[in-house]
Amino acid sequence: MVAIRDERIVSIEEAVSVVKDGDVVGLSGSVLFNQPAALARAVIRKGVKDLTLVMLTGGLVSDMLVGAGCVKKIVTTYMAMQDYAPICPNFQRKYMSGEVKFWECDFQHFHCTIKGAQWGMPYLLTKAGIGTDICKINPDLEEIEYKGEKWVKVPPTPLDVSLIYANKVDPYGNCIYEGSVFAEFILANATKRAIIVQAEEIVPNEYIRRDPRVAILGGPTRADYVVDVPYGAHPDEGPKYYAHDAQFCKEYVKAAKSDETFKVWLDKYVYGPKTQAEYLEAVGGITKLLTLRQSMI
């Protein structure tokens, strides 16, 4: 007898069912790249509240979660959308109203807080931030003295769940990246309950073994849940697959200016289309997708 290995492929609803109110959630990608857009829309539809979002740099997808009222706190270094918005609009509005808290930090602090969680360390020290006001705006960062010198002490941020975009994944959760990689590996390593991966395509295990050097997530960081979502990073760039959607980004920035206009936007693109196929129709269908794919050359 030969035992059969369990596949980890699930529906998107099943995958996000593990995300609970109040969770600390890691998001892959950066600004307009590699963000788990489809998973984020499913999280909004599920109506999860009080999330803490953790990502290297935020962008449209994290701002969408903020605008939909799912978020109470953001841990990141930067919240902007390239030329489209110098500051993410929902985030800016909800930060100013006090609705969303910002754990402001520098790259060094971000990596220290995630590595701290990955390694199970009580804190890490860095020189970045000395001489600045960072410890005044972020009370979790503390200026301490070690051997007569000032350092910034960074506590760990363990994650409950991480939502991660990958180019390709096999049914057992091994993930391939063919373009940009951001903080996916360390976020996955800092995740306690579940690593959820959405990918452009699901490839057979043979495909991974043909060249395991390009598998960034695997072993202890292989996905617990695998979701097949073609064009799933849209409106972000899906590296190698398609470019980001400039027209959509402009529409988003306009809509995100107020709660009222953003509610209409959410109905059109998040609550209305329940499946990825319906969503892709809503954003412009096959013509739009081919244009984005051709822009990748």
């Binding site: 950066s30 600004v31 790249f33 290297l56 740099t57 990141t76 270094t77 930067y78 919240m79 902007a80 390239q82 030329d83 110098p86 500051i87 993410c88 985030f91 800016q92 930060y95 100013m96 910002f102 402001e104 930090c105 520098d106 790259f107 060094q108 602090h109 971000f110 990596h111 220290c112 995630i114 590595k115 860095t126 020189k127 970045a128 931030g129 000395i130 001489g131 600045t132 006001d133 960072i134 005044k136 705006i137 010198e149 000032k150 373009g179 940009s180 990689v181 951001f182 903080a183 996916e184 590996f185 360390i186 960034i216 760039e237 590296p239 190698k240 470019a243 990748m296 050359i297």
Partner: protein, 281 residues
């Protein structure tokens, strides 16, 4: 003797060229700020023009322009784009690889260019909030890696898109990246130099109307040169504090023909420097 370019050029093109002149033949690795068309094109121009050994760190990895050509249609200021891989010779497999190694013995980047929402007389920089911490009046995008870069890099520069009293202020509302000195002390008291990290604040500020550096003793910002078409008086009026004005302030060297030609033909192929800041500016 290089020939001065006699045609029209945009402020962005001039600023790009000024940035390229700050990059020297011996520079090891340069890292321009994210999403900054002007800095990107300037850095790449330097690599093509006079710094062939220099590598360039983008969000995707390390690139050299010595052999590679910039692909047509690629806006070079969006560093994570897949298309950027065309000039990349080593990719990063996670950003901790660069950003946590910044202070280590193998410097992942040595020269950096920062943007700024506010900058003050001692080179402190703010991109976080306007107003007070308890009652901010404006939320900026966040610190990104400015503390990493201003602490560990051998030297760094600040580039601004505007020169006005809102940008150039006496004291920044919030210190996102520390300059030479401020209310929290000075570079010496912070202990950077003994680890081999940057003992200085920004080396130079490149604005759309002038270049500023810092007095060696007082660390106070000083006017270095004024761009063609602008005056010392204008710079004074548009700066929110007393600049040190030397007896003779030279005009900024205008673009040379070979700089403009290389920039337009080999670097800025999508003409973003023309589009983003028109000639009428």
């Amino acid at each position: 003797m290089a020939k001065v370019y006699e045609g029209e050029y945009t402020i962005s093109e001039l600023q790009s060229i000024l940035i390229s002149r700050q990059i020297k033949f011996e520079d090891n690795i340069i890292g321009p700020g994210f999403y900054n068309d002007v800095v990107y094109n300037g850095a790449l121009l330097a690599m093509k023009n006079h710094a062939p050994n220099t590598l360039y760190l983008s969000g995707i990895g390390w690139s050299s322009l010595a052999q590679a050509e910039i692909p047509r249609h690629t806006p070079m200021y969006i560093p994570f784009e897949y298309r950027f891989m065309a000039i990349c010779e080593k990719i990063i497999r996670g950003h901790d690889e660069i950003q946590l190694s910044a202070g280590g013995p193998r410097r992942h980047c040595d020269v950096f260019f920062l943007g700024a929402m506010q900058v003050d007389k001692y080179g402190n920089q703010n991109i976080s909030i306007r107003g007070s911490i308890d009652k901010p009046t404006f939320r900026g995008p966040g610190i990104i890696g400015l503390q990493t870069f201003s602490t560990f890099m051998d030297r760094y520069y600040i580039y601004t898109r505007n020169h006005d009293t809102r940008t150039f202020v006496d004291e920044v509302d919030f210190i996102s990246a520390a300059g030479y000195k401020n209310r929290n002390g000075d570079r010496e008291s912070w202990g950077f130099a003994k680890h081999g990290w940057n003992p200085n604040g920004p080396k130079e500020i490149i604005s759309p109307i002038a270049c500023m550096d810092f007095d060696e003793k007082t660390k106070h910002m000083r006017l270095k040169s004024v761009h063609p078409g602008h005056t010392v008086q204008e710079v004074k009026e548009k700066t929110g504090f007393e600049l040190i004005i030397p007896a003779n302030v030279p005009q900024t060297d205008p673009p040379y023909e070979e700089e403009i030609v290389t920039l337009r033909e080999q670097i800025d192929k999508t003409k973003c420097l023309k589009r983003l800041h028109g000639l009428q500016e």
